[in-house]
Every structure is written in C-alpha cells, then in structure tokens.
Symmetry: C2
Subunit: 251 residues, 2 copies
Amino acid sequence: MPYQFYYWPMIQGRGEIVRLALEEAGAEYVDVARQKNTTASEDSGQEDNRAAILEILQDRSQTRPPFAPPFLVDGDVMVAQAANILNYLAPKIGLAPASKADQLFAHQIQLTVTDFLMEVHDTHHPIANALYYEDQIEEAKKRAGNFIEHRISKHMGYYEQIIANNPSAFNWLIGETLTYPDLSLFQIVEGLRYAFPKAFAKLEGNYPHMTALHDAVATRPNTAAYLASERRIPFNSMGVFRHYPELDSES
Amino acid sequence: MPYQFYYWPMIQGRGEIVRLALEEAGAEYVDVARQKNTTASEDSGQEDNRAAILEILQDRSQTRPPFAPPFLVDGDVMVAQAANILNYLAPKIGLAPASKADQLFAHQIQLTVTDFLMEVHDTHHPIANALYYEDQIEEAKKRAGNFIEHRISKHMGYYEQIIANNPSAFNWLIGETLTYPDLSLFQIVEGLRYAFPKAFAKLEGNYPHMTALHDAVATRPNTAAYLASERRIPFNSMGVFRHYPELDSES
C-alpha cells in the first residue's frame, strides 16, 4: 500500500525534505493534498485536496494528533514532524545508514537542518508567522542581514566539516552512499541559491563539499526526474525559502 | 559508567529537558561543565568547566561533531540535539513508552516542544541571538505580543488535547505512566509562569490537564529532590525562558 503523504499542495516548505526522500527512493506514495478535490463540497473553492489536511488537523478526537503538516500515514501509523518522518521512513526505503550509531548521527544532522529551516523561515517572518511579510519588512531586513552575516556560514561550515571528515571520502555525510540527510543539504543549497542569490554567491565557494554533494544529488536518476517533473513545486513567495531582493545583500 | 552530560553551566536552557530526564530516572550522570575547573589553565577566568564544551566544539577533526550543546557521551557514543538525546536515552533509563508506535509519538511530541522552545527564545531575540536583548527590544515587544496572543494557546491546546484524549486517563501524555515528554511539559509550564506571569496567569486556566500534569511531575520524589537542590539552576536572564516585564502583558 502506498504511503499517504500530507503537506500543503502549493509549497515545498518543510515537507519538501520528505518528498525528496520518497522520490529518491522511488517509493510508492500519494501526495494527498495535491490530488484533485473530489470529495469536498464544491463551494470550498479549492481545486486541490488541502481539505484532507484540515480535516485531520481539526479532528479533536485523535489520540495521536499531528501539530502541523507534514505528516505521513503508513497503514495504521501516522507520524508527524519532518525529521521524525524521515527517521521512521528511511530504513524502510533504503535511505538510512546501516549502523545504529550512524542512524543516530543522521537524525542529529537532520534536527540541525530542522533548526536551520526555521531560521531561514524567520528571516522573512521575524515577528510572527500570522502577519504578512509586508508588516514586518523592516525587522526582516535586520534579521536577514544577521542571518547572511553569521548563520549561513555557521550551518554550512558544520555540514562541510562532516562531509570533509567522512572517513569514506565519498563526498556524502555518512558512509559510502547517499543517506536521507544528504537530500536535505541539497535542498539547503538550492534554497539559499534561490532566496539569497547575491549573498550566497559570495559564500558558496567556501563550501566545496556542499556544492559537490548538491551536484551529486541533482544528477541521481530518480531525483533528476523528480526535479524535472511537475511534482517538484517551484520555489515561490509562500514557502520557507523566499526571494525578496531587499533581504539579499552582497556584503 | 555514568553518562557524561555537556551543557552550559549557568543556564537551564535547552539542556534542562535532558537534566530533568536524568534526574527523574535517578540515572548516574556527570554534568561535565558544572564541575570545578581543574584542568584548564588558570587564566581562563572560569571557575566552572565550560572549557570542556568549547574543547569539543572547536575540535575540527571530529567525524560526528555536535552543532551545539547539549550533548551526551555514553561510552563510545556521543549524541547531540536535546530531542535526539532523549529519544536515545529514554529507553535505557525507563522513561520511554513501551510500544514502537508510542515511542514514535513521544518523539513527535518532543520535536514539537523543540519548536516551541525556539519560539520562546525568539520572543526576546527576534532579530539575532548574537545581539543583546537591549538592541532588539522593540522587535521583541512585537514578537512577544504575538506569541502571547497566538502561540501559547496553539501549543498548550495541542498538548492539552493529547493528555485529555489519552485512553488510559491517567493524566500523562502517553499510557499509564510518566514518559520523558511529560517532563518537558512540566518545564514549559514552569517556564511560562516565570517568563510571562501576567499573561500566563490569564491563560493557564484553560489547560487544566497541563496544570495537573505539571503538579504530578513536581511531586515525584526524584524530581522534587532535584528541584530543591542546587543542581536545579534558577531561571535567569540568560536562558530560554526570561522574564522581562515589558514583554509580559495581560491583554
């Protein structure tokens, strides 16, 4: 039975690192909210099936509710939080490292990526997610400026060190083959190139292993096919990574 | 051999949810950075042993480096990220639920707590962790106002629902006994009471299961002994939960 994946249908967002894993593994899955709306009432005004997400979020009787999308349904199991989904899913679809110690480290890296994605999101929403960007643009300029100056290099340097120190020297994070956090690093490079093209162009050269890993992921047959398909939602001004020229800087 | 726990010696911070688990379980551990400084050079100016943390963070040769404290050393294993530490540690010290499905859900809750703690931190540091609070006080007022208005109830309501819907009806999150995320909910209630006494006094009554759970945790013998000891660092103006009267509000 295919995995049922639930995430907002109009953005990559926090769900994309799960989509990348499902796609790279060639796993059978349904991106539930991106299916045509067939069951919701006609006056919902949505052609997609995001109502399926809301139905679960609004069901107050659940004993194991998700706090927010993404979540994944695998038979009787529903699991939420992107990093938790990946930790659960990766061994089943061949994207986890073999040893327990490496699995623990893979999840540790993934949780650091989780923190970073929240930091990226808050560059454009430093005051409140519930407010429009336009209502916090001055604060966003300050936060993004600090993010560019300090946080990109802090995170990129960390991941770069791990790849560089991988004893297998195969340019992956862990061991000799791709594992799921590699896909998240690909997404970080893609996202930073999109959101902060000027700033990141000046920084990326400091992280050659990250660039090489990005390129190695992009050319994997399954991932390349996904990226070229309509299933890959383009970056836009609703997701985690957003391009606002006034938040980008060369200094 | 006792667990070696590494976290900043002057704050509860993100490490406290691990300390609470070690203490409640009665596990043998050393809070490494809180030991007297005996090995570092005399001119470090620190009486505690935070140098032990910096030594690990600055060692660029590590193959499985932590990004930041807290981290835990258990024999040959070093594990970082508070939620990852708890997921690793809890089954060993008797604080994990029994079934795999419940363990998955416990970690899912813990990752939601992780997100919440970052939101709490950013109420006083909405622009940058590297800047002083005083340099972002106006932005902090805006962020804290929104946090009080929207985010406390969003998170508290979620945890409340889980406790209320627990089929065992024992007022814990999962099953009939305390598990590690219960300790984090205790810490959230303690922290919100400290940081936002006026605002939280008006909100807490909406979450009777959370209050009951808090009280049940506080009276557990091991936890009560810990809270009364010098090992429990008081809340202060350096941790995640900080009390700045200008960020608190009754409305």
